[in-house]
């Protein structure tokens, strides 16, 4: 699975709660594609039903100009993300962030969060699913 880097100068992370509804559709995302983004958080909402944040990508050398702009990043419920190591204090507005997610199929700037990459290279996963390169048998 190819991961393309997308430079993001400013990532706004708005963490919005997503419903805790039992039937959540990921049909709008390309769950087979993992794309890397980096930028700065502009809004951060740590609340249910889903954690939600905004990421602002600024044009830069090596960045596909079509990817510049503001991205909506959808996480999971607070509890599910807490169990993966997230807390309310994991990020705040103005923090730089690198993340890998599944983009919207229709090309609009929406991402289903897969994991964030900490400065030390370790990963903060959204959910229990893992890529093949990061499993513990």
């Amino acid at each position: 699975m190819r991961i393309r880097r997308i430079g993001i100068a400013i990532v706004g992370v708005a963490l919005a709660s997503v419903s805790l509804g039992a039937h959540h559709s990921f049909a709008m995302f390309d769950m087979e594609r993992n794309v890397e983004y980096s930028g700065v958080i502009t809004e951060w909402k740590w609340q249910n039903p889903h954690v939600h944040f905004n990421v602002l990508v600024k044009p830069a050398a090596g960045i596909d100009p079509k990817t510049a702009g503001t991205w909506d990043v959808e996480g999971g419920s607070i509890n599910i993300m807490s169990r993966q190591g997230w807390t309310r204090a994991s990020y705040k507005v103005g923090d730089p962030v690198r993340l890998v997610g599944h983009p919207m199929k229709d090309g609009s700037k929406g991402i289903s969060l897969f994991y964030a990459i900490r400065p030390d290279g370790s990963r903060l996963y959204h959910d229990i699913a893992r890529p093949k390169d990061d499993v513990k048998k």
Partner: protein, 271 residues
């Protein structure tokens, strides 16, 4: 002297009667299952929906219809849109919406149903000699009775059935019947007569838990349908007061308008 021994023997019997060896009885709970756990993905399936794909398909009897797409997954691939929005979506308004808003008392997650097929939420065990409580922080509680009781008859089927259990060494073995009809991971089906045996097996270091599910029903399955889920101790949550593991409360307000957005997201305004 012999008489003294007899007296001694009798006295010991009388004194010893209410006393007993301080040893754990075979049925007493082992304390290590207790605590907080979270499911893990040992196969690298890349998404939550992929977790259900690794469950082997159930071998159903001819004429028994598979319960397509049920169990094991939180997402629904290809779910049809219900009420497409007409207008654009301002930046920052979440567009991930749900097909069915939360409902605290509904059958979906209440009454322990979710704990028959745990998802990504934390689960918790409290062990007491007469009962193990298996609770999920995404809703519901299961009672696994260890006190020797039998399944009630009659019994009105419920989402999580009726569970009795015992310890086989360090393994908690639970037997459940009395389910409401429904699906089972791997395309299986269950009825109130279907029997589920769960074996909760700890790793030697107590850090990993494997739950082996075996569904059996001579009217449904060609052979018992078996699969495994894996769990690890939930990581402790770090705070200024220290690192602790504790149950989280999952809040859901069905009256929140955000819960009732259409499943098809409005087109996003791209800046």
């Amino acid at each position: 002297m012999r008489g003294s021994l007899v007296v001694l023997f009798t006295a010991v019997q009388m004194v010893g009667a209410p006393l007993y060896i301080h040893a754990q009885s075979p049925g007493a709970p082992q304390p290590h299952l207790e605590g907080d756990w979270v499911r893990v993905d040992p196969d690298g399936v890349n998404s939550f929906d992929g977790l259900s794909a690794v469950v082997p398909p159930a071998q159903l009897l001819p004429g028994v219809s598979a319960a397509a797409g049920r169990g094991g997954g939180r997402g629904r691939r290809g779910a049809p849109p219900t009420d497409p929005s007409a207008g654009p979506n301002p930046e920052g308004v979440p567009y991930i919406v749900v097909a069915q808003p939360c409902a605290g008392g509904g059958p979906g997650r209440s009454n322990g149903a979710l704990l028959v097929n745990p998802d990504s939420g934390g689960v918790h065990f409290i062990e007491q000699k007469d009962e193990v409580i298996f609770a999920g922080e995404r809703g519901g509680v299961r009672h696994i009775y260890l006190d020797g009781r039998v399944h009630p008859n009659p019994w009105t089927p419920t989402p999580a059935g009726h569970s009795v259990g015992h310890y086989d060494g360090n393994t908690l073995v639970a037997e459940t019947i009395g389910f409401m009809p429904g699906g089972v991971p791997g395309g299986g089906v269950r009825s109130p007569q279907t029997r589920l045996v769960e074996r909760f097996v700890m790793s030697p270091d107590g850090g990993r838990l494997t739950i082996t599910y075996t569904w059996d029903d001579p009217k449904i399955y060609q052979k018992p349908h078996e699969y495994r889920y894996y769990f690890e101790r939930a990581p402790k949550i770090e705070s200024k007061a220290g690192k602790f593991s504790y149950a989280l409360e999952e809040w859901c307000d069905a009256g929140d308008p955000i819960e009732q957005q259409p499943i098809v997201p409005p087109k996003q305004i791209i800046k």
